[in-house]
């Protein structure tokens, strides 16, 4: 029943995304994502080896394979919570001494987390399995014992079949550092292979996340018959090296954990009768704080909202067909049917229509409107030869982009896209860092470009420019797009985490968007002063008037929260007696409640005050 409720609830923000300034009727659902109701949920099972070998620390204090795996699982849990909170995740151990599964029919298989949405508690559970202490906890609760991968896979297949929801994508990741889990027991090997193929037949994709092992991990000894065949032949050569580093493992897991979902499947039309079927994907899109939900005060359960239209005079319920749409110009009401309003936006059927080609330098940097899309031929076609390939190859060779008219769905007005070919790139570990395909850059119309009055100002001399070059040189760094976390989102989720787990205070976040002022000042040394002397007269204050002067210390310290002051019992009793608890803020009151073990049902200020007063006047 809980699951059913969740379906009603707001969808994961990634999927729920739509433009900020969407108008009232919600007409402009431009790049909104996929609807889970129609496609089902994604699911992911972590099947982790818990044998003794997994707990052996690496060289140079490298974490043990088990520890690395737990860190990975944790980061997948939290990232699922933030960006795809409808996905189901499970954590299962094999090779344990203890067994824990429904009916305990599978020996040496320990279901740590059922297939379900990850939540705060689960994150905390996984945290508990990390590090030296975690290894100890694992030893005590599960222990290491016999290995029977076939049983484990069977148990996992039950996890999938017990889910009543429609699952669209089923993935199972095996984390192990043993290439021969059954130590040569061919009967168990065979059984595992059989179970694996059963699973694969029901649509489960099995991946191997093999970890470093002394003497090397030989996939061909056993696992090659267990895992799913790669998506294409070329991939066979890839990712056969075991992971030795956490970073590599995380990258590999991240690349696999998410099912690629296209926001549209269209024809790229090169000319009359020349179509290539392509998928449109979104690879960069601003993640936002999800909308708040309304809860019933008495039980903290979500309530549903129903919007109804009434006739003001008669009070009767109105159907959408009882309404029309209106805009007023020059005092005149212009009336249209809802259908007409929609159909006005229709120009052509969904698709990508090639207009022609332009040299790459014609693509202007500042012609940016919104996140780009990624265009890739329908995967089913990749095994064959389509005309996508020569089209892609030649655009790349000629260094041209293809200009296309893009109509995403019926009734969506056209936009023009520059299709920029992106060649595949792989890193040292053979992991793909840039996928092959086209980036579709949205181009602005005349209306989208504003005319600006540009000020006429003197330009810098060579010596001034040279001094700035020195400054730039001192502050060089290697930008990586995945290096910066969004402090607003992180703070929000840490707050929720703290509330969900009854923590005293949310975990501290590191705000990577803040400049490291001390470091910058130190690196620049006298250069800043030298540049100022070159460009500013002595009496000039570059920070005057327009911006209030900020103290450097404050800027450096960022928005770190003030440490919480715990109230003594006497202090609190004093407040209660004088009846001025109301002057304290809600978080302070909450802390006080926690501190003195006061149970509160609601979160309203008066409730907190009442509860505290009741407790302390006993």
């Amino acid at each position: 029943p809980e699951m059913a409720r969740l379906v009603h609830a707001s969808m994961a923000q990634w999927n729920d995304y739509h433009h900020e300034d969407e108008d009232v009727d919600g007409e402009e659902r431009d790049e909104s994502g996929v609807d889970y109701k129609s496609t089902g949920r994604d699911s992911l099972v972590f099947l982790v080896d818990a044998s003794k070998e997994m707990f052996i620390m690496g060289e140079d204090e490298e974490p043990s394979p088990f520890d690395m795996t737990m860190q990975c699982v944790r980061s997948v849990y939290t990232s699922k919570i933030i960006s795809s909170d409808k996905d189901l995740v499970a954590l299962v151990f094999y090779g344990t001494e203890q067994s824990k599964n429904p009916r305990n029919s599978f020996k040496h298989v320990y279901i740590y987390h059922d297939l379900d949405l990850p939540g705060a508690r689960r994150v905390q559970d996984v945290d508990g399995l990390r590090g030296e202490k975690g290894a100890q906890v694992a030893g005590e609760t599960m222990g290491s014992g016999n290995t029977n991968l076939g049983e484990a896979l069977w148990c996992c297949s039950n996890l999938y079949s017990d889910i009543k929801l429609r699952l669209s994508h089923k993935r199972l990741m095996i984390f192990t550092c043993r290439d021969t889990p059954h130590g040569g027991d061919s009967e168990r090997d065979r059984q595992a292979r059989t179970k694996a193929s059963d699973l694969k037949e029901t649509g489960v994709v099995i991946d191997l996340m093999h970890l470093m092992k002394p003497g090397g991990f030989d996939v061909s000894l056993f696992f090659c018959d267990v895992v799913s065949p790669p998506e294409d032949e070329a991939e066979l050569g890839l990712q056969m090296e075991p992971c030795g580093k956490l970073e590599d493992l995380q990258k590999r897991v991240r690349a696999k954990e998410m099912k690629k979902r296209s926001v549209a499947r269209l024809n790229l039309c090169l000319g009359e009768g020349m179509n290539v079927a392509v998928g449109v994907y979104i690879t960069a899109l601003q993640a936002r704080k999800p909308n708040a939900i309304k809860l019933y005060r008495d039980n903290n359960e979500p309530v549903r909202t129903k919007t109804r239209l009434y006739h003001t005079q008669t009070g009767s319920l109105l159907l959408p067909s009882d309404t029309k749409r209106v805009q007023v110009y020059a005092g005149r009401q212009i009336v249209m049917e809802k259908d007409e309003v929609d159909v006005i936006k229709k120009f052509s059927d969904p698709g990508l229509e090639l207009i022609g080609f332009k040299p790459m330098e014609r693509l202007k940097l500042h012609h940016h409107l919104r996140s780009a899309v990624f265009i890739y031929p329908e995967e089913e076609m990749v095994t064959g030869v389509s005309n996508f390939n020569p089209f892609f190859t030649m655009c790349s060779v000629r260094n041209v982009f293809a200009l296309c008219k893009y109509t995403r769905i019926r009734n969506s007005p056209p936009r023009f896209l520059a299709l920029v070919p992106q060649k595949e790139e792989v890193d040292d570990g053979q992991a793909q860092i840039a996928a092959p395909g086209f980036h579709g850059i949205f181009l602005p119309y005349a209306d989208d470009i504003r005319t600006l009055d540009t000020p006429q100002l003197p330009t810098a001399s060579e010596s001034q420019v040279d001094k700035m070059k020195e400054i730039v040189h001192k502050l060089r760094f290697k930008y990586r797009s995945d290096a910066f976390e969004n402090p607003v989102l992180q703070q929000h989720y840490r707050n929720l985490e703290a509330l969900a787990l009854d923590l005293m205070a949310p975990e501290h976040i590191e705000d990577l968007t803040m400049p490291n002022v001390n470091m910058i000042d130190q690196r620049l040394g006298s250069l800043a002063q030298e540049f100022r002397d070159l460009v500013y007269p002595a009496d000039y204050n570059p920070e005057g008037k327009t911006a209030p002067k900020r103290k450097p210390a404050e800027a450096a310290g960022g928005t770190e929260k003030k440490p919480k002051v715990e109230m003594s019992e006497d202090e609190l009793r004093g407040h209660v007696q004088k009846g001025n608890l109301g002057k304290l803020t809600v978080p302070v009151l909450k802390d006080a409640c926690k501190q003195f073990g006061v149970k509160v049902t609601g979160t309203k200020k008066q409730e907190l005050i009442d509860a505290l007063t009741a407790q302390l006047t006993k």
Binding site: P302, V382, G437, L457, Y479, T603
Partner: protein, 580 residues
């Protein structure tokens, strides 16, 4: 004789901010305007279209500009200057007023070609008089007269100098709309093969004289042909927004600051108005009330009061009550606007396809601060030379969400600036991997196929060099008005004046503007045919078959809502389908 009492208010008027324009449309309805070569639209109809489109545009712009309409060559006479036999057959149809749909309807229903003739110079004088009388004591940014005529009436040039003098003194500007081009006149006209009459030739000379006296250099650019005007006026002009300045300070560490001003340079423009919902019968907004009710998730859908609900958030499987007050207390806060440099990196490290956000800012120094100008120029030029960008923390205002962005150097002939574009946070990225396209043996295209695509690209290049080596772009997206709004306004206008008629078809010019240019479409025919032969057409893979393949591969959901379309599949793919 023309009035000589125009007061010069020009200078004062220009000072006034947000001032309006007063404009008189002066339309020739004389009998010659109905003459046309067979198969051609009479000048009167063309001129009427120009006026309709222009008024339509003014109505939708909803500004304070005032508009008057004077007809000449009309059967009746109605103007202040008419006396005895002077200023006859000139009728002030509408005084200066803000245009509305009533005016549009009047033009559509009541403005007809007349059977008389009137001197266009006389009509001009009536317009000047109208402007002078009705703008008296009010402030206008511009006074303008728009003359639409075929110049086919005899005019007496003896008053011309006085009229020009008065126009200049009153600061009135003129625009002419003629059936023929101003420079292609003479006795060998290009239009319809019909030669200009003696009156027209004389009129054209006088028009030139007036326009050149008012503006020696560009005067003739204000003389248009009807057909040009219809085309240009068909485009609904967006209402220019005054760019909003965002003053801030660019900081590098604690001891280097440069004053800056940012402006939105590129941003998806949206229509100012949105649709509101009205009752279908009464068309009244107030007759409809939207009501939101909250109910529990039980079988009875029990309604609860809004006051009995609290705010919460989902944290994975957890539902966390989190009041607004607490949230405000605990949320991430910023202490004010910021444009702080975190460091510098190579331009090549920034991937254009990872740009996020919905706008591009151009960052200048304040226009009266040359020191800031020099300092910013130093940064811009240094970055440009080094092919680097500044990575900055951007905060729009206190408690605004911080952004991470790249400030690119931009050096143009007339100005220098930084171009700021937002970059993604880690949470914004989806790292999908896709099977290789090139390192796949099965997938290697033949030389034949590659060269076919190569010639297709040649034939479809949209940028070409003319014989002087000047590059010409045949399809500039940034010159196309947003078709969504063009279509919207076309339909709004149509519905406003024809409330019960169905919506009109798309304007042909709009359809054409969104298509492959004709030259390119013609050029690429042959290469496309060749390409088609290299990739033989195969009949559809139907939905059913796709389902089979889904069962086979089992890892994706295919074929939603598509069937019976023709795709290009290679023979090898088809074989696979058959096996399935």
């Amino acid at each position: 004789s023309p009035p000589d009492s125009f007061k010069s208010e020009g200078k004062e008027i220009k000072m006034a901010r947000s001032a309006k324009t007063a404009l008189v449309l002066c339309l020739d309805v004389g009998f010659s305007m109905s003459n046309s070569a067979p198969g051609q639209e009479p000048p009167f109809q063309q001129a009427k279209k120009v006026i309709q489109k222009f008024v339509q545009r003014q109505v939708f712009a909803e500004n304070k500009d005032e508009l008057g309409l004077v007809l000449f060559g009309s059967d009746n006479t109605k103007n202040n200057l008419a006396k005895d036999d002077q200023y006859q057959n000139i009728s002030v149809h509408r005084q200066l007023m803000i245009p509305n749909f009533e005016l549009l309807e009047e033009i559509q229903n009541d403005v007809h070609p007349g059977s008389q003739q009137a001197d266009w110079l006389d009509a001009l004088v009536v317009c000047m008089d109208l402007l002078q009388n009705e703008t008296l004591g009010k402030k206008y940014e511009r006074l303008n007269i728009v003359m639409l005529t075929d110049l086919n009436t005899p005019s007496s040039p003896d008053q011309l100098d006085i009229i020009i003098g008065n126009l200049k003194r009153a600061g009135i500007t003129l625009q002419f709309f003629l059936p023929f081009p101003v420079d292609g006149g003479g006795s060998n006209p290009p239009h319809g093969g019909k030669a200009l009459s003696r009156e027209q030739q004389q009129g054209l000379e006088m028009t030139k004289q007036v326009m050149m006296s008012l503006d020696e250099e560009d005067g003739l650019e204000e003389v248009y042909t009807f057909s040009d005007a219809i085309e240009k006026l068909s485009v609904f002009k967006r209402v220019e927004k005054r760019p909003m300045a965002w003053p801030c300070t660019l900081t590098i560490g604690s001891s280097l600051a440069i004053k800056i001003v940012g402006y939105k340079a590129v941003c998806e423009e949206r229509p100012r108005k949105s649709w509101s919902v009205v009752d279908a019968q009464t068309h009244q907004k107030d007759d409809i009330k939207r009501d939101v009710v909250y109910c529990l998730n039980d079988d009875e859908e029990t309604e609860v009061q809004k006051d009995d609900t609290i705010q919460g958030y989902r944290y994975g499987s957890d539902i966390v009550p989190f009041s607004k007050v607490d949230q405000d207390q605990m949320k991430y806060k910023t202490d004010g606007k910021s444009f702080a440099v975190l460091g510098f990196t190579k331009q090549s490290m920034i991937n254009r396809h990872q740009f996020v956000g919905t706008q591009v800012l151009k960052v200048f120094a304040p226009k009266d601060d040359e020191h800031a100008g020099v300092a910013l120029s130093g940064l811009i030029r240094a970055l440009d030379d080094l092919k680097m960008v500044a990575v900055v923390r951007y905060v729009y205002a206190r408690n605004g969400n911080p952004q991470l962005g790249a400030a690119f150097p931009c050096i143009k002939e007339k100005y220098e600036c930084l171009v700021y574009i937002q970059l993604p946070f880690m949470e914004d990225l989806r790292q999908y991997s896709f099977p290789s396209l090139e390192n796949n043996k099965k997938y290697t295209p033949s030389e034949d196929q590659l060269s076919a695509v190569d010639s297709l690209i040649d034939s479809m290049m949209l940028v070409e060099e003319d014989k002087d080596g000047v590059k010409k772009d045949l399809f500039k997206v940034n010159h196309i008005p947003n078709p969504q709004y063009q279509r919207l306004f076309q339909c709004l206008h149509h519905r406003a004046v024809n409330p019960s008629a169905p919506l009109p078809p798309m304007d042909p010019w709009l359809t054409t503007a969104l298509q492959r240019p004709l030259a390119v479409a013609t050029r690429c025919q042959a290469p496309l045919e060749i390409l088609k032969k290299k990739f033989p057409l195969k009949e559809v893979v139907k939905k059913k078959e796709l389902k089979t393949s889904k069962e086979l591969f089992g890892n994706s959901c295919l074929g939603t809502g598509r069937s019976n379309q023709i795709y290009l599949y290679s023979p090898s793919y088809i074989t696979m389908q058959v096996k399935a």
